[in-house]
């Protein structure tokens, strides 16, 4: 338990010490929020869908959680490059504990980052419709964080150098974000796009967040929670397996 805790704490400390990075990673969500939120606002309103800012804010929060958690997992690459990974791999502890500590640490900072984005959203004018549902929203943020931190660990364990990173970014992370319905409603889409969005894990997270914050859910809480919980378990196993196979 101690081992998991101390590796979790390491992730938190590293996060809190990189202030510039925290501020920097708030810039992107803010850009989406302001430019898209106000840019599409008028069109969205005319289409009878209400405020686009209210609609897109949960998506932007999900984006913050997605990026932070998946990058923290891929951060394994840095540990490999700077050598710290060896220190943990040669220690007399099961790799599963090392992986668990790292991944939970990554998930925790993603949750913190997501909360910061929520605060930023509220500064810009976003208001949750039902304050009692905020804990549910936090739970969804935590689920998204675990799913993608574990996926990030799995990816980070298999990548050998930074060259693969760009590939992952363009062919995995960006599609996950764009297909999640963070920016547009999931109803009345062409069939192909509907199928693609249903295959995207983040879609269930965004749907859950939107349900909690503004009461609009396409798939329903039950489906959202079940899918995310199953995927968390699946990706944790996948991540642990990939991590256990790391060779120096």
């Amino acid at each position: 338990m101690n081992v998991i805790y101390v590796l979790w704490l390491r992730e938190i400390k590293r996060y809190l010490r990189s202030r510039a990075q925290i501020i920097g990673s708030l810039a992107q969500p803010l850009l989406y929020l302001l430019v898209l939120g106000f840019g599409f606002g008028a069109v969205f309103q005319q289409a009878g869908q209400g405020s686009y800012l209210q609609f897109v804010a949960p998506g932007v929060i999900a984006m913050g959680v997605l990026f932070t958690s998946i990058f923290s997992g891929i951060g394994l690459l840095w540990d490999r490059q700077f050598g710290f990974l060896k220190e943990t791999l040669v220690a007399p502890v099961p790799r599963l504990q090392i992986m668990a500590g790292r991944t939970l640490g990554g998930a925790t900072i993603a949750l913190i980052q997501g909360s910061l984005v929520l605060v930023v959203c509220m500064l810009v004018g976003f208001r949750p419709e039902n304050w009692a549902a905020v804990p549910i929203a936090l739970m969804f943020m935590a689920l998204i964080a675990v799913v993608f931190a574990a996926l990030g660990t799995a990816i980070g364990s298999t990548l050998k150098d930074m060259q693969g990173f760009q590939l992952i970014m363009n062919f995995l992370i960006m599609p996950i974000f764009f297909l999640s319905g963070a920016l547009f409603p999931l109803s009345n889409l062409p069939t192909a796009l509907t199928v693609a969005t249903r295959l995207d894990p983040l879609a269930y997270g965004v749907d859950g967040l939107r349900g909690a914050f503004i009461g609009i859910s396409t798939m329903g809480f039950g489906v959202d929670i079940s899918v995310l919980a199953v995927l968390s378990a699946l990706f944790l196993v996948l991540g642990a397996w990939a991590f256990s196979r790391i060779q120096l």
Binding site: N2, R10, R14, G83, L85, K86, E87, A91, Q247, L248
Partner: protein, 270 residues
């Protein structure tokens, strides 16, 4: 304390002619409390041997015993018994010196009270105590090396592996480092297995020396025995007589590239 019998490591398919025999039928014994130097040109198989001794790599054939235990069967037990300083750095630069030590202590299950005492003792010994709360990324090369060695000793290992610990250090830091290592060898009785390219260091620090070339041990004994055997007047002379004067860099990088290829095509199997 360390026993290797007929140890071999082949990268790639052993049957194909592309296979690289990085370590070939190596046998040696290091007694408890001894300082043992493992010397050889670049790409001779030193690091591969250390990786097999320290559970990081599985031998293709041969046996290893660390304090009587097989690293393949009881990796966690074996890992508790040694400390290692890798050829390249393995500290977390975003943490302080103390935090790096603390984390290591937890990973090696050192009880909290012992941990605090031992960290203080070692950081003072290696003259890092005043800088304990500085981030490691602000440290010089010599300070990082010292911190890595004190970290490797935190869990009072029976064996300390040092893989080229003085690489890139100035003479002052090197001198100081060996003084500390020898001091710990006498006071705590820790067995030291080291590799280095500086023959004078090996001659001064180690009681016994083995020279490895092309994956095979070409000579072993005390520095004096090797000098007598080759008729050289220094260990460096003996080393050059035994391993020749050709430069090995190209050879080793080709072998490294091959190892990489072998790893890729084997899908990361051992």
């Amino acid at each position: 304390m360390i026993e290797a019998q007929g140890l071999s490591k082949v990268f790639g398919d052993p049957k194909s002619d592309k296979a690289v025999r990085a370590v070939d039928d190596v046998s040696f014994t290091v007694k408890g409390g001894e300082i043992f130097a493992f010397l050889g040109p670049n790409g001779a198989g030193k690091t591969t041997t250390i990786q097999m001794l320290t559970t990081l790599l599985r031998p293709t054939s041969g046996t290893v015993r660390i304090d009587g235990l097989d690293p393949g069967e009881k990796p966690l037990e074996v890992r508790k018994r040694f400390g290692i300083v890798f050829q390249d750095p393995s500290l977390d630069g975003e943490l302080t010196a103390y935090e790096n030590m603390e984390l290591h202590g937890v990973l090696y299950h050192v009880p909290r009270k012992v941990r605090a005492e031992r960290i203080e003792l070692l950081l003072k010994l290696f003259e890092l105590w005043d800088r304990r709360d500085s981030l490691v990324k602000t440290f010089s090369g010599g300070m990082r090396r010292r911190l890595e060695i004190s970290r490797g000793l935190l869990h009072t290992p029976k064996i300390l592996f040092l893989d080229e610990p003085t690489l890139g250090l100035d003479p002052q830091s090197r001198n100081q480092l060996w003084t500390h290592v020898k001091h710990l060898n006498t006071t705590e009785g820790v067995t030291v297995f080291l590799t280095t390219h500086y023959m004078d260091e090996a001659e001064k620090a180690a009681q016994r020396v083995a020279i490895i070339d092309h994956g095979r041990i070409v000579a072993q004994g005390t520095a004096d025995e090797l000098k007598q055997q080759t008729g050289a007047d220094s260990l460096e002379g003996a080393f050059l007589k035994l391993t020749g004067t050709t430069i090995r860099d190209e050879r080793s990088s080709a072998a490294d590239a091959m190892r990489q290829m072998a790893k890729m095509w084997q899908g990361g199997r051992r």
